[in-house]
């Protein structure tokens, strides 16, 4: 059996004394899009931040390609090839699009120019806006900048925290199709989404988080068609 790229094993973690994740386990296989869905406050984003060493892990472990990276500081985690796009404030608003991408390449030793070209091919909208301040772009375009910025390193896995939050339906569709394009370049993706139905639609597998523990897991289609899950999360206007 192939090894997971990223795995969270029986994680109990939280901020300070508050424990948010209880015995959470999940993994992402090579070339896979995995979605974490669940109600507000279920610990979806927290699960993602636990990978980056941004919170207190009491028990359990995080592994990248089988190597233990539990409690590794964010900067080292990123150097090891985990790229993270936060939900909000995910671009440097006063820097131009190109400067944002250059900052994304901070831990990349060389080949920045080539990588920039690849990103402009993957995100053609950004190529013509490369000298504009990222803060002047629309929400959807900012999200593109944030993803391109995260991909400037040779990412082993891309973590996306609610990439479509607050975006119009048109941009949501665009983001999801970009996510599939990124998968096509061979980068596995772990995605946290409120927008459960669309997220499961593009995902190979999904996990349903409730109260910091995984309640259900299955294939993207399987979860999307599961009546119980539909009743819980997919019915509303998300």
């Amino acid at each position: 059996m192939t090894q997971p790229v990223l795995s969270l094993n029986h994680l109990n973690a939280g901020y300070g004394q508050t424990e948010i994740l209880h015995d959470l386990s999940l993994h992402v296989m090579p070339n896979e899009i995995v979605a974490i869905i669940g109600p507000n406050g279920a610990g979806k984003s927290t699960a993602m931040k636990s990978v980056l060493g941004l919170l207190n892990i009491r028990e359990g472990s995080v592994e990248l390609n089988g190597e233990n990276i539990t409690d590794t500081p964010a900067q080292k985690v990123i150097e090891r090839g985990i790229s993270y796009v936060p939900q909000t404030n995910n671009v440097f608003v006063n820097l131009s699009v190109q400067e944002n991408l250059e900052m994304g390449a901070w831990t990349r030793p060389n080949g920045i120019e080539d990588r920039l070209q690849e990103m402009y091919e993957l995100f053609p909208d950004l190529a013509e806006k490369r000298t504009q301040a990222a803060g002047s772009l629309s929400g959807g375009q900012r999200q593109m900048v944030a993803m391109a910025k995260a991909l400037m390193v040779d990412a082993k896995i891309l973590l996306l925290d609610e990439p479509t939050a607050g975006l119009s339906p048109k941009y949501r569709g665009e983001i999801f199709s970009t996510i599939q394009k990124i998968k096509g370049t061979g980068v596995p993706i772990l995605i946290v989404e409120q927008n459960a139905k669309q997220a499961l639609g593009v995902s190979d597998r999904g996990y349903v988080l409730v109260d910091g523990a995984n309640r259900h897991e299955g294939t993207g289609q399987g979860l999307a068609n599961d009546p119980e899950i539909a009743r819980m999360f997919l019915g509303g206007g998300h």
Partner: protein
């Protein structure tokens, strides 16, 4: 027209205002960068600047004793190295331990650093002001004759020309650093969002060091230029500069280096021009109230437009 008031206005108010403005601008650059990147108001900035000036003149005295007259601008880079070292040591000992604590702790720490540095300078060089035999700063003869022929005689001593040239050089270098180099862009990125910089993998500690280095060079230049202008070394000069420098940083917008340059020039000009006899024959504001002008501008800005003219961070 020129003879009636132009001559007096330009030579006795406008040019001194711009000179003062350059000095404020250079000091304010360091304050605004520290505020933007390290997120605290560094009260010790003026004292570091003052100690840089003392070091520069000490270097000049030591070299002078060996029979070589050194121009202050030649001593400046050496003093800057000292100032950068001082900033980095202060950071290591007094600021770094509070990096993740409440801002007020690091602000109080900088207040302590301010008192430590001033006392150390007073202990080493004595508390009294040191005045250099002023000599008469003769206006640059070439500039005087060229502008005189054109009917607009400008009297500017060489030291003022040096101050202008030095300021322009430093601002151009700063702009190159911030817009063209990796470290400079990272400084802007950290100023923009330290959290995002952290999860982008940017080495924030390296950026902080770069900030102290840039702030140190500008602060030393400001200190040396001020002493070149006033011909006086005083242990309180840093503290006196602090208020107008903060006013300049706030006017331009916190975290905006170009804003700080613009703010510095405006504050310097406002202080000098406030003493111009705009109405009648007496100064509009007695020169004794000059410092009040910077304070008034700062208070008004904080009430009316706290983000500053260049849309900096507001608190």
């Amino acid at each position: 027209m020129w003879d009636a008031f132009g001559f007096e206005f330009v030579n006795f108010y406008l040019i001194p205002g711009l000179v003062l403005g350059c000095i404020y601008a250079l000091g304010a650059i360091g304050i605004t960068l520290t505020f933007g990147i390290l997120r605290f108001a560094n009260f010790a900035h003026g004292e570091v600047m003052m100690s840089g000036a003392y070091i520069a003149w000490t270097i000049m005295a030591l070299v002078g004793a060996a029979g070589i007259a050194l121009h202050p601008l030649v001593a400046l880079p050496f003093a800057a190295i000292f100032v950068i070292g001082l900033f980095l040591l202060c950071d290591r000992w007094f600021y770094k331990p509070f990096r993740k604590a409440d801002t007020i702790k690091i602000v109080i720490a900088s207040f302590g650093v301010m008192l430590i540095i001033r006392s150390a300078v007073q202990a080493l060089w004595g508390p009294n002001q040191i005045t250099f035999v002023p000599g008469i700063a003769r206006p640059n003869a070439w500039l005087q004759s060229v502008t005189g022929d054109a009917g607009m005689m400008i009297l500017m001593p060489n030291k003022h020309l040096w101050i202008f040239a030095g300021t322009i050089l430093l601002v151009v270098a700063l702009s190159y650093l911030l817009n063209r180099t990796r470290t400079g862009k990272a400084m802007r990125a950290v100023s923009d969002s330290p959290d995002l910089a952290h999860v982008t993998g940017i080495n924030v500690e390296t950026v902080i060091k770069a900030t102290w280095i840039v702030g140190g060079i500008c602060a030393t230049a400001a200190g040396v230029f001020l002493v070149m202008d006033t011909q006086t070394l005083e242990t309180t000069m840093g503290f006196r500069m602090l208020l107008p420098m903060f006013a300049a940083a706030i006017l331009g917008g916190i975290g905006k280096p170009y804003g700080a340059v613009f703010g510095g020039l405006v504050i310097g000009l406002a202080e000098e021009l406030s003493a111009y006899p705009w109405i009648g024959d007496t100064p509009l504001l007695s020169p004794g109230y000059k410092t009040g002008v910077a304070f008034a501008i700062m208070v008004v800005m904080l009430i009316v437009r706290p983000q500053g003219l260049f849309k900096g961070r507001s608190f």
